[in-house]
Symmetry: C2
Subunit: 206 residues, 2 copies
DNA sequence: GTCATCATGTAAGCCGTTACATGATTGC
DNA sequence: GCAATCATGTAACGGCTTACATGATGAC
């Protein structure tokens, strides 16, 4: 999961470890706080795997394949690049996603969540990056989540957890939460379908 | 956390590992699925720590200090004891909570959640067992949870996570969830206060 | 020159997992 | 006797944490 998060952040722009950690606790903070003790080893793993590569200072601007898509609101991006490119910080190692990393990112985003991982977080993380997915993969992600929630709801119906006030309240609240999650996912699915319909409409018209 | 769950279940009645695992995935399943690979070692740790002890088959009925409080609905309890006491299963080792274990249970229930543990689950687990807590400790638990949720809400306000549809929706849903958790905790707190008031009323009347 | 911050990393450990190994009991 | 289930455990590993070690830069 850490690797997915890292690759996702690097997809937007090259970053070095320290900055990466800040974002992980900042932008993605509601999902995650990572420590250096896991971040740096993860970066090295990714580097060994050929998913990321160190980018020399000053080497980062001319982004090889992409012709400056002007994605992130120009103002902030400019400031960031200035900051990132600032010379002197000799020891910094900024990492950039490679072709192989791109591929790995998509696999992690699409593939099954590793066992033992928290479903909630895994889904949240995937959703946070699912804009990079083709429409059908995105739909699959949402449908899978829907199925998981339905299954959980089923299980919740069959479980009687002690009969004391607190346990009952807990169970009830959990059930309601799951139902609301389900409604939310259904909204996302509906929006997705609507967008798909619109897109195909346009395609037909053009 | 596993230890808390185990001690909590053993507080109700002696159980052996296999049965314990079933309950952990059954009664408490909405929180937790444990594997033998962590359950048995945990039991041994608890045994070494003097928190639990093996109870000989047939030894479990005459529960030393408690004079049969008739707590859990008699019918089911009777069936359970019959099943548990059934002879022949030579290798089974049922564990019973010791005095020391009782103490440890309360410490785990009252003390801070170990760092690195999922807050949600930790709270849910504690709530599931908080009937064993004195009223003020229970209130402290709820208030602590409330403070955590408020803090999280604060953090959520300050975080701008990319501006794409999915990330925004995720953030918004998370915020709403937290708000509802907060409402729920507030209800629990209100109920607790009401119960406390009622109790002190009775005390004054008597 | 020194202190806060930026920045990278290692070591030990915790807590859990899956996969495997083993054996008793029960029902047929 | 054989299979299903009950029951206990071990081994190897994974991923993340805290605590520690190190050093450069910039502000004052």
């Amino acid at each position: 999961m850490l690797e997915l998060a890292v690759l996702g952040l690097l997809k937007e722009q090259p970053l070095h470890g320290y900055e990466l950690k800040k974002r992980l606790g900042d932008t993605l903070g509601f999902l995650w706080g990572v420590s250096y003790g896991s971040l740096y080893p993860a970066l090295r793993r990714l580097e060994r795997a050929g998913a990321v590569e160190v980018v020399e200072p000053g080497d980062e601007a001319p982004a090889p394949p992409m012709p400056a898509t002007g994605s992130l609101s120009g103002e902030a991006a400019a400031a960031r690049v200035r900051r990132l490119a600032k010379p002197g910080r000799r020891n910094r190692k900024a990492y950039r996603l490679t072709e192989r990393g791109e591929q790995m990112f998509l696999e992690l985003l699409t593939g099954d969540t590793a066992p033992g991982t928290d479903d909630e977080r895994a889904f949240a993380l995937k959703l946070a990056f699912c804009r990079y997915l083709p429409r059908d993969a995105r739909m699959a992600l949402l449908e899978q989540r829907r199925a998981d929630l339905v299954a959980r709801l089923h299980r919740a119906r069959g479980s009687r957890a002690g009969q004391d006030r607190y346990a009952l309240s807990l169970l009830e609240h959990g059930r309601k939460s799951t139902e609301r999650d389900l409604e939310w996912v259904d909204e996302l699915i509906a929006a997705e379908r609507a967008a798909a319909a619109e897109a195909s409409q346009e395609g037909a018209t053009a």
